[in-house]
Amino acid sequence: MTKTRVPAVEGWFTSDPDRPALLGQRCAACGTYVFPPRDRSWCPNPGCAGRQLDEVELSRRGTVWSYTDARYQPPLPYVVPGAEHRPFALAAVELAAEGLVVMGQVVPGVSVDDLAVGAPVELVVDTLYEDDEHTYLVWKWAPVAGGGGA
């Protein structure tokens, strides 16, 4: 039986297999960005009276602001994918156009030894965990081989 692929959180990213993207918001008045998206409409910039945030796809590429890993199994509500915990890397990634740093897990098979501050990465959508019927998806960062930023 094929499992249904569903996002682990609603409305934070698109799962287009070719070009997935984070879904943020942009203030129609001042142009500031918001991620994760909010269910309220006012702009977080105190210097702006904007009351309209439009949904936008964020840049799919960025550069590593910093990185680490999870050697031990995180506590609930984290759900271990598979039989046992395997250490995974995490990165905080700077998106230049949006002026944002966004956290994410790094794709399996990439360790901290493969990462560096400033290294280019791109967004992918990957399995977070599974149950009997569903594969729950989340965004992750993947190193870009020899690629430039942004």
Binding site: A8, V9, C27, C30, G31, T32, Y33, V34, F35, P36, P44, N45, P46, G47, C48, W65, S66, Y67, T68, D69, A70, R71, Y72, P74, P75, L76, P77, Y78, V79, F88, L90, A92, A97, E98, G99, L100, V101, V102, M103, G104, Q105, V112, A116, V117, G118, L128, V138
Partner: protein, 397 residues
Amino acid sequence: MRGRDDVVVLGVGMHPWGKWGRNFVEYGVAAATDALGDAGLDWGDVQFVSGADTMRNGYPGYVAGATFAQALGWTGVPVASSYAACASGATAMEVARTRILAGLCDVALVVGADTTPKGFLAPTSGERPDDPDWLRFRLLGATNPTYFALYARRRMDLYGATDADFARVKVKNARHGLNNANARYRKEVTESEVLASPMVADPLRLLEICATSDGGAAVVLASAAFARRHTTEPVRVAAISTATPTYPNAVIEMPNFATDSWAAAAPPERPFKASIAAAAYDEAGIGPEDLSLAEVYDLSAALELDWYEDIGLCKPGEAERLLNDGDTTIGGRVPVNPSGGLSCFGEAVPAQAIAQVCEVTWQLRGRATGRQVEGARVGITANQGLFGHGSSVLLAR
């Protein structure tokens, strides 16, 4: 600078940190009783109780002011309860201080205490997909050390900090806390022992990340006029900062998924963490050059180095040199965490900011047995709580 009208710390007290497994109220009452004894006052003299809340001990923890007042015996005294994550104690002190400065009371008791579970601090249970603190565990598996490690790694990649630098912070603090009767961990460690401890969140190792502890701390605050009648060694509260960030906060903060955006507005000149102590210095008219010592929130060994820069002891990138020159060791220019810090205490969230003030008070009175900073005149505390809570208390004698 307010000078002689400053609110005064009249008494301090603590219940030792540990993993005692008893009700948090017991620790709070013990600390309060100690602080009242230290102030030479009775419970009946207290005109206001300000409690720092704990989120892990059910309803009594959410109404800490009333819980401690009831435990000490209802006297009709007005209460307040504050929650500001790790900064709760400072917020509770600020509530008490402003009430005194407003002339509404002369003597206030501030209490915080916690009973903590084992292991990583995890969010409260249940499905809460609207809570970022729940979601960061579910979607990222990002524990608290994850965030501390991001900062540590940046120090390495930007400033050339090393594993050994981080380990030496731990070695220093372990030595500082060796004779502190209130500390939970009183054992020397060597640099190689630290470096041999298991990696938790690269580059941070088990011995470089603070544990969670049970503990309680209390302070008695009083108006200057009241204090003059009760003590000859006043420790002045020169300032309390409960700063929040200025938009856009361009540094990723626990438990967030992202920073604010700097696409439309430039980040403030002072990042949030540096603005916390700066607000205290501004209020007091005292600068970092005046400090005798500091108690900072070393949730990780590497984070203590960030604080050196954020409280103005040195410029960004210079903290490792300060550490390695011995400036921040007892006997050095400006000892940091003479109590042993979180490294020796572990974190008892609502009690911790109050415990920092207890330590600075003992130091300024010359009563920090076994860890005294000679001739201490001015000390600062600094910490940062989840969801944008700054906390810094500047004390002087």
